[in-house]
Amino acid sequence: MLGKKRRRKLSSVPEAVTATKRMNLCAAVNDALRITLKKDDSSIVFGEDVAFGGVFRCTSELREQFGRNRVFNTPLSEQGIVGFAIGYAAMNCTAVAEIQFADYIYPAFDQIVNEAAKYRYRSGGMFNVGGLTIRAPCGAVGHGGHYHSQSPEAYFCHTPGLKVVMPRDPIRAKGLLLSSIRDPNPVIFFEPKILYRSVVAEVPVEDYTIPLETAEVVRPGKDVTLIGWGAQVNVLMETAQLAEAKGVSCEVIDLVSLLPWDAETVVESVKRTGKAIVSHEAPITNGFGAEVAATIQEHCFYNLEAPVRRICGFDTPFPLVHEKYYLPNKWRCVEAVFDLVAA
């Protein structure tokens, strides 16, 4: 299948959009949750400080609209939040659990990896927690230090049974969150919190979904393929602009879903360009970029004109004062682009 040539359309947002509204990513998430609570009677939204609107305001005014039974605070226990959500979802209901920061998801690791991910498989399909979605803000934010900056997606991408999704802007955030909530499998939905307020877009007001497991070619190009997800896609778009000024054409791919991920789109692109850079904020060693690089190597080896490069966070805890040196910014990325082109 990987050899099959297929160009994807640049945007998966509904084409016949009737009305849009200016929303930041936070408002887009809020809108997706509102649609869910309105249309799905079984849905509940909960977590730490969710009732008053959440520390990032993503659940703002939902309690007022849908009542305290469906939008509520839980005690401060991530394993409790996810365990509770699993039990609720196991009754064929929709549970949207919020983990306040992805950095604090680890107490729930056992519940996610050993319980949510295996609930269907271990019962031979008798039971499932497909109605479970875990939202967690992730990534660098400029001042978050060790414990308000992490991108832990790779840990979860190592777990069969889970889906892992990360949007890059408000339009995708709304459509992908609705897809994640309605997907009949447990989904971890990482929200790059730097984008909550910094990115504003005309978001369709209607209810729409964007397919999971489908990467998106955000910018077509012919010389180098740049692969990222979440906020890093925006860095790669800036990288592509810098490269273009020097006459290098970059194709930028947003993976959108990390598990399962769309290798086909990546492989098709790299076969054309012969050069690939994968970039993420998380530490380089054993980051999800390693999986992408290995897959490119396996399927595009004879098309590659240079080694696959990974431009990622360094193998350190997330450093507060050195954040701008730690991050794989556009300068690091564009330098890699020129290295590859010169190779």
């Binding site: 226990s77 365990g83 039990g87 009754m91 519940q111 050993n114 271990r122 499932n128």
Partner: protein
């Protein structure tokens, strides 16, 4: 406990015990890979199961096979699960004793300890929102009560007011660790009180006491839409599992004195004899009958086919994703199966 229920509870306790003996020995003979007995805890499990409603959603640990039997899980189903056959609804994917039944409202057992407690709370929250006239019942051991999930679950159940019944089988041991090294303070009971949950300690080897306590607790859960914790004090008279040898850490004298003295089955049988509800002959005949039924189920399961390798990739997700299709194709190709 109604008279007829007494006999049925006793019979299911015996059924559980006879089944355990046979499957334990079957493991020793290499016929199944692993087994865990419920020895000594039959009253805690079966009498509590009898006091629940059949539609109550159960989240159990791994020593509650008596509850499965009470709800109608067949010995053939036990054997098929333990032998990982095509007739195991779990499709042979889990070690023996990890039963589950959607029809019987018992969620499939998983090995990690304590993880099922917050699940029961979430399920109970659903019942509360939908105003269903049923509860979630959650079994676990005193060892599991040291896990974080136990504490999270009690706290969530209390603050969110969920109709969930926590049933702790305090059997004295978590594998080799005795209760003195598991917790200090007043047992598991006191944790319930600490979380604002009504809690009661019960003689878990007294079937009638267990039944009465669980009946009351269940009514309270339903009428107040809030949690209750019961600590059923019992005794694990068997090994932790077939991978364990309890003589390495438990004085055989203790087993002789405490274990036999507390035997739930002996006590309940004496009670039934005393009231002329059951006779020695009936007891012998019933045991023989169950033994024959078990052996038959085991032999039949041994003749069953194992689940096809093509099933390895199903149920990871609701539908098999592309990358698993490819892996399955590659695996079967390697095995020389190309005709898919």
């Amino acid at each position: 406990m109604p008279t007829e229920t007494r006999k049925e509870v006793y019979k299911t306790m015996v059924r559980t015990s006879v089944m355990d003996d046979i499957f334990y020995l079957a493991q020793r003979q290499g016929r199944i890979s692993f087994y865990m007995t419920c020895s000594g805890e039959e009253a805690s499990v079966v009498a509590s199961a009898a006091a629940l409603n059949q539609s109550d959603e159960v989240f159990a640990q791994y020593r509650e096979q008596g509850l499965f039997l009470w709800r109608g899980f067949g010995l053939d189903e036990v054997a098929n699960q333990c032998c990982s056959t095509t007739k195991d609804p779990g499709k042979g994917r889990q070690m023996p004793v990890h039963y589950g039944s959607k029809e019987l409202h018992v969620h499939t057992i998983s090995s990690p300890l304590g993880t099922q407690l917050p699940h029961a709370v979430g399920a109970a929250y659903h019942m509360k929102l939908k105003e269903e006239k049923r509860i979630a019942a959650c079994y676990f051991g005193e060892g599991a009560s040291s896990e974080g999930d136990f504490h999270a679950a009690l706290n969530f159940a209390s603050t969110l007011q969920c109709p969930v019944l926590f049933l702790c089988r305090n059997n004295g041991y978590a594998i080799s660790t005795p209760t003195e090294e598991q917790y200090h303070g007043d047992g598991v009971l006191s944790r319930g009180q600490g979380y604002g949950i009504d809690a009661l300690r019960v003689d878990g080897n007294d079937a009638i006491a267990v039944y009465a306590a669980v009946s009351d607790a269940r009514s309270k859960c339903l009428s107040t839409q809030s949690p209750v914790l019961l600590e059923l004090v019992t005794y694990r008279s068997g090994h932790h599992s077939t991978s364990d040898d309890s003589t390495r850490y438990r004085d055989p004298d203790e087993l002789q004195s405490v274990g036999h003295q507390l035997s739930a089955i002996d006590r309940f049988r004496a009670y039934l004899y005393d009231r002329k509800l059951w006779t020695d002959q009936e007891d012998r005949e019933f045991r023989d009958h169950v033994r024959a039924e078990c052996l038959h189920a085991l032999e039949a399961a041994e003749r069953e086919r194992k689940p096809p390798v093509t099933g390895m990739m199903s149920d990871v997700y609701e539908t098999v994703p592309k990358h698993l299709h490819e892996q399955q194709y590659a695996a079967l190709h390697q095995m020389g199966v190309d005709d898919l």
